[in-house]
């Protein structure tokens, strides 16, 4: 059975208590807001893209330990990466969050998933969230907001 330790790993509590990349970026950095209307969580993502690289990212907002640590972990994972790498990370993370229900009862993951999870580094700490389906929205809020930000980037010349 899912228990609290699966959800609240130490890394998560650490990022919650000491969020990375907290703050704002001035224009021309892009600013995008994300809401979770059901629980009132709000997040603002600022991204600064230079030469197809996510040069800087900052976050403000408030929310639960899951949404806050997820946004902090995300910022650490994507900052300084090429947009292509960022998109890959997003895809891998979203897969982690939509792991098929049939796996929820198993203890382990498939070998493929294991490989993906390892590539996620610290982000893998969020893997336990899928055992608490109602919290998946918390974990993905920052990511969906980042996706929206990338979509809003001016088309490349």
């Amino acid at each position: 059975m899912a228990n609290l330790d699966d959800l609240y790993r130490e890394i998560i509590l650490d990022h919650y208590r000491s969020p990375r990349n907290r703050g704002e970026l001035a224009p021309p950095a892009l600013r995008v807001e994300g809401f979770n209307p059901l629980c009132g969580d709000e997040i603002v993502v600022y991204v600064q893209v230079e030469d197809d690289v996510l040069a800087d990212i900052k976050l403000t907002g408030h929310g639960c330990s899951i949404s806050q640590s997820s946004s902090s972990l995300m910022s650490a994972a994507v900052k300084g990466k090429s947009l292509e790498q960022v998109r890959e990370t997003i895809t891998t993370f979203k897969q982690l969050m939509t792991v098929h229900e049939s796996h929820l009862s198993d203890e382990g993951a498939t070998p493929d998933e294991d490989a993906d999870i390892r590539r996620l580094g610290e982000l893998a700490a969020l893997a336990g969230v899928v055992k608490f389906p109602v919290r998946i929205k918390c974990a993905t809020l920052a990511w969906n907001t980042l996706i929206q930000a990338l979509d809003e980037l001016p088309a490349q010349a």
Binding site: P37, L38, C39, P133, V134
Partner: protein, 411 residues
């Protein structure tokens, strides 16, 4: 007869045990509301006994369970209709009528303006008429009626003329008075060819005929759980996701917002935008059970079986009451469902129903919320018998016996 077994269905329906005026109940009012199988009742009991909680905003276990039941019903609805967009295209309302009001006041008020035409038909239920008159009064749209011909079918001979200026066609899949099944796919193609959208009143058709939204190619669908073996208090509204996304909110309140401040509000997206307040949660548990139950019977089987019942009843009515009882609806079973409206010479429908009640026969007298159709045929009311998957030829036997008594009494 198909392999489908109505006797089995009867044993699943507690109300079938009722005795009325000393006779076993002969329920012939499924057009108004269907009887409820035990499995549907029990699904709601289980919900209240084990899982009840408000949905969506909970973290605790029963709240998650209630949410899963509620969202699961959306999936059941999407599966039942073959809605390729899935559960995101399903909005829960309180009945088919609210679904039409949602269509008129959200989509209609936004996308229709002065002089735009909504084309309904003369055989519509008031649920698919009054909301359009209300929109006419508030937004100046025109409401135009496809006439009904003497053979109780939509008269499409002038359809090109009728389609002028039409932005929405809104017709019933099956008339709750005549039994007529309308050519929805044909109307959908016609509507789309004219750049219009099409809505279907599925209150009867969804409950008695297989419904496949891909085949039908319509844009909106409205129906009620209580006519398809489900509970009262739940309606369904379906539209394509891209249309839904463009629809402004309807009722305002909790659950349908993204944000509210002292200055205003921003609506949520997806179906919840149209679901203000605590929804009929337990009813969705009953609805899912009804869908599962119908899937178990097979909607094809139900439709085929009810067609046989209808054919038998029409033949015998013609034989035994020729001249005295007129069926207001198609005389054979081609494109026709199991709704049989009777006009008994010299006996008012109220009196017919009263006499029938003495025999335990439940038929409905009245205008069946279709007054324009009644006027079209110069009637104030009919006595309507309508079948469900639990009906039997022996129900028709009792109907005919009782009808004979009514005719004699007022003869």
């Amino acid at each position: 007869m198909t392999s489908f077994d109505p006797q089995r269905v009867r044993t699943d329906i507690p109300l079938m045990r009722r005795v009325i005026n000393g006779r076993p109940i002969t329920y012939l009012d499924s057009g108004a509301s269907s009887l409820t199988p035990r499995t549907v009742i029990e699904a709601m009991d289980r919900y209240y006994e084990n899982h009840h909680a408000n949905v969506h905003r909970g973290v605790y276990q029963t709240a998650n369970e209630a949410t899963a039941i509620y969202e699961g019903a959306r999936e059941a609805a999407a599966r039942f209709l073959n809605a390729t967009g899935g559960s995101e295209e399903i909005v829960f309302t309180k009945n088919a009528t609210e679904s039409f009001n949602l269509l008129a006041r959200s989509w209609g008020a936004k996308f229709l303006s002065h002089g735009d035409v909504v084309l309904v038909s003369e055989m519509e239920h008031h649920a698919n008429i009054v909301p359009w008159f209300q929109l006419r009064d508030s937004h100046g749209v025109d409401v135009r009626f496809i006439p009904v011909s003497d053979d109780y079918r939509l008269d499409l001979s002038n359809i090109d003329e009728l389609m002028r200026g039409v932005k929405l066609v809104s017709v019933t899949g099956m008339s709750n008075v005549l039994g007529t099944i309308n050519p929805i796919r044909e109307l959908a193609d016609m509507a789309h060819a004219h750049g219009a959208l099409i809505a279907v009143d599925g209150a009867q058709s969804v409950a008695h005929l297989p419904t496949d939204l891909v085949d039908l190619d319509v844009d909106f669908m409205a129906f009620s759980a209580h006519k398809m073996l489900g509970p009262t208090g739940l309606g369904i509204f379906w539209t394509r996701a891209e249309i839904m996304e463009a629809m402004p909110p309807f009722l305002g309140g909790g659950g349908m917002i993204k944000d509210v401040s002292l200055d205003g509000y921003t609506p949520a997206s997806g179906p919840t935008r149209f679901e203000a307040g605590t929804p009929p949660i337990a009813q969705t548990a009953g609805f899912s059970a009804a869908v599962t139950y119908i899937e178990g019977l097979g909607m094809d089987n139900i439709a085929a079986y009810e067609k046989e019942l209808t054919g038998d009843a029409l033949t015998r009515l013609a034989l035994e009451f020729s001249g005295r009882v007129r069926v207001i609806g198609p005389a054979d079973t081609l494109d026709r469902g199991g709704v049989i409206s009777l006009d008994v010479d010299g006996v008012h429908p109220h009196d017919v129903a009263q006499v029938l009640d003495q025999f335990g026969v439940c038929v409905r007298p009245g205008h069946h919320c279709a007054k324009p159709l009644m006027r079209r045929f110069g009637l104030a009311a009919t006595a309507r018998a309508s079948f469900g998957p639990y009906s039997l030829v022996s129900d028709t036997d009792v109907l005919l016996e009782a009808l004979g008594h009514a005719v004699k009494m007022f003869g």
